[in-house]
Amino acid sequence: MLKVSGIDVFYGDLQVLWDVSFEVRDNEILVLVGANGAGKSTTLKTISGLLKPRKGTIEFGGVRLDELSPDKVIGEGVVHVPEARRLFREMTVEENLIMGSLSPEARKKRAQTMEWVYELFPRMKERRKQAAGTLSGGEQQMAAIGRGLMALPKVLMFDEPSLGLAPILVQDVFEIVKRINKEGVTVLLVEQNVRQTLAMCDRAYVLENGRVVLEGTGKDLMNDAHVKEAYLGI
């Protein structure tokens, strides 16, 4: 279980997260929804060690992640697929995948994991020698997810994987997320695509202005009056 307890996070003097707490249970799909600027990406960046909370703790399997550097967090199996993909544009798809597997553990199984990723995304195998920057938006998302999988994650955190994709591709991406979850990977999904993600998740939290305001199962939240009004436009 990944447990975030009461974190306050700042950019310089600007506080953007206020006493945020939530937990991701093993093997579930947990969704964090919220509007632009609610602090979703900041939350993921703090878990992966790019930012340090000024207050509060982050724990995974008995280890304090908030005390670790990003490479150590990956070593614990908590892996972040960043917003807007952030591929290495001038490197090939294959090199990008390799960059996902730098931890000693992942390195040992690199060839094997790559086979698995290519099985999951046959498109990536066809494009493996192509520069990542020349892929289409949907392909880039697959490459970014594939790169995350190369780290052999126990928990995979997706930051708005549907961003900028056509509706039909959004559906595909969510199918992939579900499939990865079925293979035993715990999923923490950050999304603005509230309707679709609430339908597919186990549980969800709603983040507003840097604070957790609601939590519940996907179904509960879909029937919640506030969620209906603020996010589903009903």
């Binding site: 972040h80 952030r86 390195r107």
Partner: protein, 290 residues
Amino acid sequence: MDVFLQTLVAGVLKGGLYALIGIGMTLIMGVMGIINLAHGQLMMLAMYVTFVLNTMGVDPYFSLFVAMPLLFLLGVGLQKFLLNPLIKADTILPENQVLMTVGIGMALTEIVRFGFTSDYKYITTTYSNETFFLGKISFSMALTIAFGIAIAFTVAMFFFLIKTDLGRSIRATAQDKDAATLMGVNTGRITVITFGLGSALVAAAGCLLAPVYYIFPDLGGPFTAKAFIITILGGLGSTVGAIFGGVTLGLAESMGATYFGMEYEDIIGLTIFVLVLLFLPGGFKRLTKV
């Protein structure tokens, strides 16, 4: 025709060395996003290392094995203790790192002047003035050996950048530092290693140049300028571009010296530099990938 071929050969041989100087600069540029204005001074230091070793009877080419590790360590130290601390204070602009490199360059020059005076030193070896002929074209033995070694280092560098995890991490850091951090790359360590490597490469160029060049404390400045020109020609941060840039500068200088006169050598280089800035602002990088 012979004159032209002779000029061409001289230019390419020199270009190989320039490429080595340029690759070091371009690596630093790519990863740190700054121009290292102490680059030529680091080369000058390596030439003095070569000179000192030579007075003890060590061949310049063997001094590679001393000068390169030494300059690597110096580069590591400079990045770690003088340049990286500047990044941490976020009120400080990246320009201040460039200013720091200017300071480092001046300090190196004056330290060397203190130890060795401003007098010209030179290293004479059996092959310093030796030439051999292919047809009617003469080849300077020292420059030809230097060219061969420079090519070997360049190829090794490419192999390292493309085939090893550390090399890939360096390229990844240059392309997207935050994303590299997310992959578990310690980007602070990468900047330190990169500055070390850049210094070691320019040290190699210094050792190779030592048998055919005068050695004096102020030669750093002009070579920093050359490195800068090569890097701009190649498209900032592109390694393949740096090779093109190096060879172009070598050829241009050599052509200029032959067809306009020796005194035009540097002017030609600068002219090309300005033309590239005006008409091909991305440098040769547009033609390449790595």
